[in-house]
């Protein structure tokens, strides 16, 4: 057989051949993924290992790349939300709202206060689900399964609230340009009240299970630490950056959707290790709960749930059949005849695990000329090989889990 037909040799094979340990033992290669139960998604890591210690890692991405940015170029603006759902599917409402806010920024639409507060509530609920899953899965990856299932029923409660708001659970596709597609039902508020009543006790119990647990501390303290400078150099945002001690939060730095009306603190860690990330997420859940309470208290009366922008907001169906105006607007919106300015804008929101940014270039047509999603997971994953260098295999799993890298968002 000719040399050309042989598969190319991986560079680790050469390293293994060259470097033989003094005691005669060999280095080995371990394929962590693409399908491994602890990666919680499909990414591959080729690890060069000396026993259990990782010497080098080579990540491969793109296993579930769906070309969202390209698909978005061929879709009208209001049909892009389903794509954002499927990025960070643990907190899809934040992505949805981020996209609508980008469009509102583009079209200069002022959203009524009540709709903004509703958005804040649903975004904070999404943040709670995201952090809840991340932290409880960290527990699972260290071997404590019960906490995960125990708090998971509260994710279910949150999904029931989503259901009341928009009908969907995981991929919510929630909202419209200028607000929501319909007003929240009384049942949604009722479920929200029960959630706010029951969840704190359960979450306190979950925290107690882990925060001072000796084994958990041993597994997470000083594991996967990243300094503030390094984290910023990589472009970390969100809880992972705050755990390293930088108090950057988009909600405070560039307030959107009336976040400036609420009083909350930005929890920061010190060492940027796995334990700090865990604690920052825990603290953020309490802050989110307080924001939701404040929003419910300050909520303006009335039932305004969307801005009066007939050019962009689909009229109710019964009006479409009964009034000429509505029929025209409906036709124009669906056929893409609405005016869109030529612009280039960027709008960041504080997502579940970092700054989700929407960079949008329009050319006046009904579809974006170019749309780029700033996906925090993609950025975290670049730092991952460096973070696990020299760590043990068990640490690699825990670090991946605490970075909250979500395959859907990483590959988009």
């Amino acid at each position: 057989m000719s040399e050309l037909l042989l598969p190319p040799e991986h560079r680790y094979a050469k390293i293994i051949k060259e470097k033989l340990n003094e005691d005669g033992s060999e280095l080995s290669v371990l394929n962590l993924g693409p399908t491994h139960p602890a990666t919680h998604g499909i990414f591959q890591n080729i690890l060069l290992m000396d026993g259990e210690r990782i010497l080098e890692a080579e990540p491969t991405i793109g296993y579930i790349h769906r070309a969202f940015e390209k698909i978005a170029e061929n879709r009208p603006f209001y049909q892009i939300t389903p794509l954002t759902d499927r990025m960070n599917y643990c907190s899809s409402p934040i992505n949805n709202m981020g996209w609508w806010m980008t469009l509102e920024k583009l079209l200069n639409i002022e959203v009524p206060k009540r709709a903004q507060y509703l958005r804040v509530i649903v975004m904070e609920l999404a943040r709670i689900t995201d952090h809840l899953i991340c932290n409880s899965i960290l527990g699972v990856d260290t071997g404590a399964y019960t906490g995960f299932l125990y708090v998971f029923q509260f994710r279910e409660k949150i999904y029931e609230i989503y259901e009341e708001i928009c009908g969907a659970r995981l991929t919510t596709n929630m909202g419209r340009i200028g607000g929501f597609e319909r007003d929240w039902s009384p049942a949604a508020f009722e479920k929200l009240d029960t959630f706010l009543k029951d969840f704190p006790a359960a979450w306190k119990e979950f925290e107690n299970l882990f925060e001072r647990n000796r084994i958990f501390l041993d597994r997470t303290v000083n594991v996967g630490a990243i300094s503030a400078e390094q984290a910023m150099a990589y472009g970390f945002t969100g809880p992972n950056l705050r755990a390293a001690g930088v108090d950057y939060d988009v909600r405070v730095a560039h307030p959107y959707s009336s976040y400036e009306d609420f009083d909350f603190i930005v929890p920061v860690g010190k060492s940027g290790d796995t334990y700090d990330r865990f604690c920052v997420r825990n603290a953020e859940i309490w802050e989110s709960l307080s924001i939701i309470r404040q929003a419910l208290d300050k909520m303006p009366a009335g039932n305004e749930y969307h801005a009066q922008v007939p050019d962009y907001y689909l009229p109710p169906k019964e009006d479409v059949y009964n009034s000429m105006e509505s029929l025209i607007y409906h036709f124009k919106i669906v056929m893409g005849e609405v005016p869109v300015p030529v612009a280039e804008i960027y709008h960041p929101v504080e997502g579940g695990n970092g700054e989700i940014g929407f960079y949008l270039v329009t050319d006046g047509s009904r579809t974006p000329y170019r749309l780029h999603f700033r996906r925090p997971c993609f950025i975290y994953y670049q730092a991952y090989p460096e973070m696990i260098k020299g760590a043990l295999l068990s640490d690699a799993i825990v670090i991946l889990s605490s970075l909250n890298v979500i395959a859907g968002e990483l590959d988009a």
């Binding site: 602890a38 990856d141 071997g143 399964y145 882990f210 084994i215 597994r219 799993i397």
Partner: protein, 351 residues
């Protein structure tokens, strides 16, 4: 001269002990799922039979009817031998356990123990040590890096924890002066349970028994979040079932050994009174029940721990074994020695 009735009697006892071990192991799987469900606010298995009581049978049927998968390994023979060793060693230990005192039936004294040998403790340690071969051979023969890692972890873990376990036993043996489990049980009658005299030894033994049975927080050999399935990643069908079954069988045996060594075996408060005033058989049957209550408690304890705390990392596990448990058990031996020889020491020091 051994008479025929004796052989029949022993055979019956052996069959019963074997059956009980199997049934307990089977229902431990059911109990594990029920306990996990209880701790996690779930329902647990409840479709097969009342309260899911037929679930172990259904699981067994399922495993039997699954495809026998063989990985591409040059060691097909060892691949089969692995689970066989794990299973047989897990079942062998039950032979020396004293399940109860004598029963009077058919005009004979029936000893409720397969065999009462004077080196029972050594026998148990020996058999438990062989158990690691099942895991090592299986993991190595799988020709899979994750399996091999699980096997290596299991081997080093078991070897290190056996030392601490053995040392913790020495302190107990210094006190009891015998290795026969029957004798040890008799010495503990009337609430003189060893746990009150050797609490440190009990703690060390308990921790090591978690390591020996590969249960959380020491389940590094399989830890599904890192090594997928550890040493049994490549196993399917009933070979896989054997490994799982062996784990539950050894959990049952460990719970039994803890109950016998430290919690008085079949002794219970007021046993003497019932044997003298109510009847020998009733008293001793209650003794068996008492032993099983203790065993069930410890099995529950194993599950409780498994579903509560995270697992160690490999180096931390070794640290705990070599740097904490072994020195601690040596200190325990010294303390026990001083307490046993306290009068001699007092004389020596001139008091």
């Amino acid at each position: 001269m051994v008479d025929n009735v004796f052989i029949i009697e022993k055979s019956v006892v052996i069959v019963i002990v074997f059956a009980i071990t199997m049934i307990m192991a089977m229902y431990s799987t059911w109990a594990e799922r029920k306990v996990a469900a209880f701790l996690q606010d779930r329902v647990g298995p409840n479709r097969a039979g009342w309260g899911g009581l037929l679930q172990p049978l259904a699981d067994g049927m399922k495993l039997f009817s699954k495809e026998e998968f063989f990985p591409n390994t040059p060691n097909k023979f060892l691949f089969i031998v692995g689970p066989a060793i794990a299973m047989s060693t897990a079942l062998m230990t039950s032979a020396v356990i004293p399940w109860g005192d004598r029963l009077h039936v058919f005009g004979r004294d029936v000893l409720l123990q397969a065999t009462d040998i004077n080196i029972a403790l050594l026998y148990i340690f020996g058999v438990l040590s062989v158990g690691v071969y099942g895991i090592m051979i299986g993991g190595w023969a799988s020709n899979n890096k994750f399996s091999l890692m699980g096997a290596v972890r299991a081997a080093s873990q078991m070897v290190s924890y056996e030392i601490a376990m053995g040392l913790s036993m020495i302190a107990l043996l210094m006190m009891t002066g015998t290795m026969s489990l029957k004798e040890i049980t008799i010495q503990q009658s009337g609430m003189n349970w060893n746990v009150f005299y050797q609490p440190l030894s009990f703690l060390i033994f308990l921790i090591c028994s978690f390591a020996e049975t590969n249960r959380t927080p020491f389940d590094l050999a399989e830890c599904e979040s890192e090594l997928i399935g550890g040493y049994h990643t490549e196993y399917s069908s009933m070979k896989m079932g054997f490994y799982l079954f062996a784990e539950y069988a050894s959990m049952f045996i460990s719970a039994t050994i803890i109950s016998v060594l430290f919690f008085g075996g079949y002794n219970y408060p007021g046993m003497q009174y019932i044997v003298e005033h109510v009847g020998v058989n009733i008293g001793n049957l209650l003794g068996i029940a008492a032993l099983f209550v203790k065993i069930c408690f410890f099995i529950f304890f194993y599950m409780w721990v498994r579903w509560t705390i995270p697992r160690f990392r490999y180096d931390q596990l070794m640290h705990l074994g070599w740097r904490i448990l072994i020195p601690l058990s040596i200190v325990n031996i010294m303390i026990t020695g001083i307490v046993i020889l306290r009068s001699e020491i007092a004389v020596f020091l001139g008091f």
